[in-house]
Symmetry: C2
Subunit: 114 residues, 2 copies
């Protein structure tokens, strides 16, 4: 029960949904996500940890950076089923399209030394 609530809470924030939709296209580090969402790094980090704890994403050290990516092999069956729905969600949303365009441009080597 508590686990399900955690899963749905993770999906109950527009910034976290935007993150998931961006990760559909490519793994990203904290500061790249920060650059698109215009949030503080610490805020992005918190969102990512909630998504990770719910099982939606994985983190992986990559040099200076931590790359976050969708977790296609989530342990929890229901998380996997929800993730199967993700590609259908808000594809018509202007903000999501804009995020995806922005993420093609961001270059961690340029933007991450704030």
């Amino acid at each position: 029960m508590r686990n399900y609530v955690k899963i749905f809470k993770a999906l109950s924030d527009s910034n976290r949904l935007r993150i998931l939709k961006m990760l559909e296209d490519s793994p990203m580090c904290v500061c790249e996500i920060r650059a698109v969402l215009n949030l503080a790094n610490s805020t992005v980090s918190k969102h990512l940890s909630l998504l990770r704890e719910a099982g939606f994403i994985l983190d992986e050290k990559n040099g200076k950076w931590v790359d976050y990516k969708l977790n296609d092999k989530a342990e929890n069956l229901q998380v996997r089923k929800l993730m199967k729905l993700l590609p259908e969600w808000f594809n018509d949303e202007a903000r999501i399209k804009a995020d995806k365009r922005k993420l093609e441009i961001v270059d961690r080597n340029k933007i991450c030394n704030i």
Copy 2:
């Protein structure tokens, strides 16, 4: 976007999830739900209105009572897809099983005049 957040927020509370699982078995009025969940009527009513606004349930006047039931024909495609998953959720949870047993016993004519 906002609509999706509303949908997931509706699912982000254990009492609302318990309500949905009970409504799988049978329509219920506010005071029947109140009797199972041990919440104030006004609290149950609020939960129901959040579930209704998200599209998961419908209300129908029935004499003195308002019967709430699952909305099998939700307008929103994603709501329908989530509702298709509902029967798979927490069937192993003791609390859900207990709720369903309790709901078989509750009789609105006996319990609703508090």
